[in-house]
């Protein structure tokens, strides 16, 4: 690991910390103020990110996945606010309780964030290097030369010519290059918790494969805890150890990636997998999910959020929110799945 402790002499807690932090999200609820009152974009989400793992959160637009990711930085912007729950990060505490300067310092040093469309999140008027110096100054980095060296190393690690990229403006870089610059910015202050929001959207297949490989390698080399937010199951399948499926602000299924993909339990997970056209096998087996994903205004306040599109809908789904039930290493929130499991248990008895 090309660690440069000298690059972060001002860090009180960061200087000593070199290990991947664990994250425990508990009962997280984020609401947005609308003319129709406060509506939840994220409801009662429980999710652990074990130290050193890559977790993928999959969801469609409006599922609340980006809001969930922003909560890790306590960066939900008005009219949104975290109304309940906690986000405990090792070495940092509950970020929901952090305010002002403490919060600003935590972002970047503890939590690195690669924004959705990182391609467009750079300042078009400044070279990458100038933006790096801005970042260093705002975080009180004493040795800016070391910071530039570290950035160059990171870019080199990702297959780019560091010096040249630092000298470039955004428009001089391709989409795949900008994405790597985004990852560099997330890591250069030595954060060990990294959140990537849609890291490969708008990239083509070969560039996507390269970025995913880089995410995996950098994750291992630097000892990170990584959260990847995406709408693309393929991205998660390729990169994540654990997978959480989000729908209408709720986590409907989570567990080890291979288990969830190989044997999906929740009807939404099943539907999503079936809706992916595949390269081999009978292409006619691909099925579209009926209906469409809910928006903030149409997420049902009571009962299961997926019932409108669910082939297994039961009466209880109208009124009761299905609790997350453990199935081995997996958590599934579905009344129908529980009814089937209960039936199978009865038969065995």
């Amino acid at each position: 690991m090309p660690a440069t402790p000298s690059a972060i002499p001002g860090g009180k807690t960061a200087s000593g910390e070199r290990t991947a932090p664990g994250v425990r999200i508990g009962g997280l609820t984020v609401v947005y103020r609308t003319p129709a009152g406060e509506l939840p974009a994220v409801s009662g989400v429980d999710l652990d990110l074990p130290p050193g793992t890559i977790t993928g959160v999959v969801g469609e637009s409006g599922s609340g996945k980006s809001t969930l990711a922003l909560s890790l930085l306590n960066a939900v912007q008005p009219p949104g606010r975290i109304s309940a729950g906690s986000v405990e990060i090792d070495g940092l505490g509950d970020v929901v309780a952090l305010r002002g300067e403490d919060l600003r310092r935590a972002r970047g040093r503890h939590v690195g964030y690669v924004f959705q469309a990182a391609q467009n999140s750079l300042n078009p008027l400044k070279t990458v290097g100038r933006q790096l110096l801005d970042l260093g100054r705002s975080h009180g980095v004493g040795d800016l030369r070391a910071l530039v060296r570290e950035a160059g190393d990171l870019l080199g690690r990702m297959g780019l010519d560091g010096a040249r990229v630092l000298d470039s403006y955004q428009h001089e870089l391709s989409g795949g290059m900008r994405q790597r610059v985004g990852i560099m910015f997330a890591l250069v202050l030595n954060a060990h918790l990294v959140v990537l929001d849609e890291p490969t959207t708008a990239l083509d297949m070969i560039t996507q494969a390269t970025i995913l490989r880089i995410i995996r390698e950098v994750h291992e080399e630097r000892g990170l805890t990584t959260l990847v937010i995406t709408h693309d199951l393929g991205v998660v399948a390729e990169v994540a150890d654990r997978l959480a499926v989000m729908y209408g602000g709720r986590l409907v299924e989570q567990g080890p990636t291979r288990q969830v993909l190989g044997d999906p339990r929740h009807p939404y997970t099943r539907g999503l997998i079936q809706a992916i056209p595949r390269l081999v096998g009978d292409i006619g087996e691909a099925r579209a999910l009926p209906g469409r994903p809910p928006t903030l205004a149409t997420i049902p306040a009571r009962g299961c959020v997926f019932r409108e599109r669910c082939p297994l809908r039961m009466d209880v789904c109208e009124s009761e929110h299905p609790p997350a039930v453990a199935h081995g290493a997996r958590l599934v929130s579905c009344h129908a799945v529980e009814a089937v499991t209960a039936g199978a248990r009865k038969e065995q008895a």
Partner: protein, 336 residues
């Protein structure tokens, strides 16, 4: 039937890390889209596939080569006379959010081109509204719901359906779908793809599908032809299933290898090909254009120019001096 022969196009740009100078977007491409057929272009961004689609739709000029539509050479016609020909080819944009005027209802978006159409074909005024409703039904929307609405009141999937309905107002022979589902929610994508497939069957329109996702190309036009394009050149061409199951050009193999494997459901193909470097860094023009990124390149590859054609017992056309079948596509995992 639309054909293009020896199409070339060079863009001139200025400055930057990516080089600047000239970009040869197309270097002599032959293409043919049969009536009711399906043709898919695949390749990385910047390979020229979108430019080729735009040229075939009459939205972009080309430097040399000839385009014919139903046997008529476009070069022989004056620009005004070309219009009715190119109207038969309609482009469906990637972004349904910007393709529709936000200040116009769906009704307005559809009836404006239909009114023109009614004048041209001498139909009564009543036909316009009738046809608008009919077209919405055809793309799977409820006319009563959709007609009075503005684009922002519709979901992305619905908007893309409206865009398709609008393209159908001029009774096109070819729909050019350029990354038509990449901005649509995952659970709704397949619905749009199924619609395009359905329109082929029901209306006999051909579909030119431009994408970097080979699996969606297979879904739309599994019975059609696949063109693999690299740096403005077709490097492999043939039936979709043939190329997916036994690609021989290392670039095709690299594209197919890059498709994520659904671990747990699939196992990797085993002979995955990773290209060296990136497209934007590849500037060499001597020999095979892919030679500098090809892990199998030999000295011959940088000296000799491969020509698209058939060799040996390989059923598809390819432009590789050392064609070899490789198993790069993920296979279904054996389920217990």
């Amino acid at each position: 039937m639309i054909t293009g022969q020896g199409i070339t196009k060079t863009f001139r740009q200025r400055g930057g890390v990516l080089g600047g100078r000239e970009v040869r977007a197309l270097r002599g491409v032959d293409v043919a889209i049969a009536r009711g057929g399906a043709v898919s272009f695949i390749g990385e961004s910047g390979c020229g596939k979108t430019t080729l689609g735009r040229i075939l739709a009459g939205l972009e000029s080309h430097d040399s080569g000839e385009i014919t539509i139903d046997g008529v050479s476009m070069a022989s016609l004056r620009p005004r006379a070309r219009r009715p020909y190119f109207r038969r080819i309609q482009l469906i944009h990637q972004d349904p959010y910007s393709a529709l005027n936000p200040t116009r209802t769906v009704h307005q978006a559809l009836t404006a081109p239909l009114a023109l159409r009614a004048r041209q074909t001498g139909r009564p005024k009543g036909w316009i509204d009738e046809r608008a409703a009919e077209l919405l039904g055809l793309v799977g929307l409820d006319p009563g719901y959709a007609l009075p609405r503005y684009p922002h009141q519709l979901s992305g999937g619905m908007r893309q359906r409206v865009v398709i309905a609008r393209a159908l107002t001029v009774d096109p022979e070819v729909l050019v779908a350029d990354e038509a589902v990449s901005m649509i929610d995952v659970s709704l994508r397949l619905g749009i793809l199924a619609l395009l497939r359905d329109l082929r069957e029901r209306l006999g329109v051909s579909v030119l599908f431009i994408t970097h996702d080979v699996a969606t190309a297979r879904y739309i036009g599994g019975d059609g032809e696949l063109y693999v394009i690299y740096r403005g050149q077709v490097v492999e061409r043939g039936p979709v299933e043939t190329i997916i199951s036994a690609p021989v050009h290392p670039y095709t193999q690299a594209l197919l290898s890059a498709i994520p494997v659904l671990h747990g459901l699939e196992v990797p193909g085993g002979q995955a090909v990773t290209p060296v470097g990136a497209l934007e860094e590849d500037k060499h023009d001597a020999g095979c254009l892919f030679a500098r990124r090809c892990p199998f390149a030999t000295g011959r590859c940088t000296a000799e120019v491969p020509v698209l054609g058939r060799t040996g017992d390989i059923p598809q056309e390819h432009a590789c001096l050392h064609p070899e079948r490789r198993g790069v596509v993920a296979m279904p995992a054996g389920r217990a």
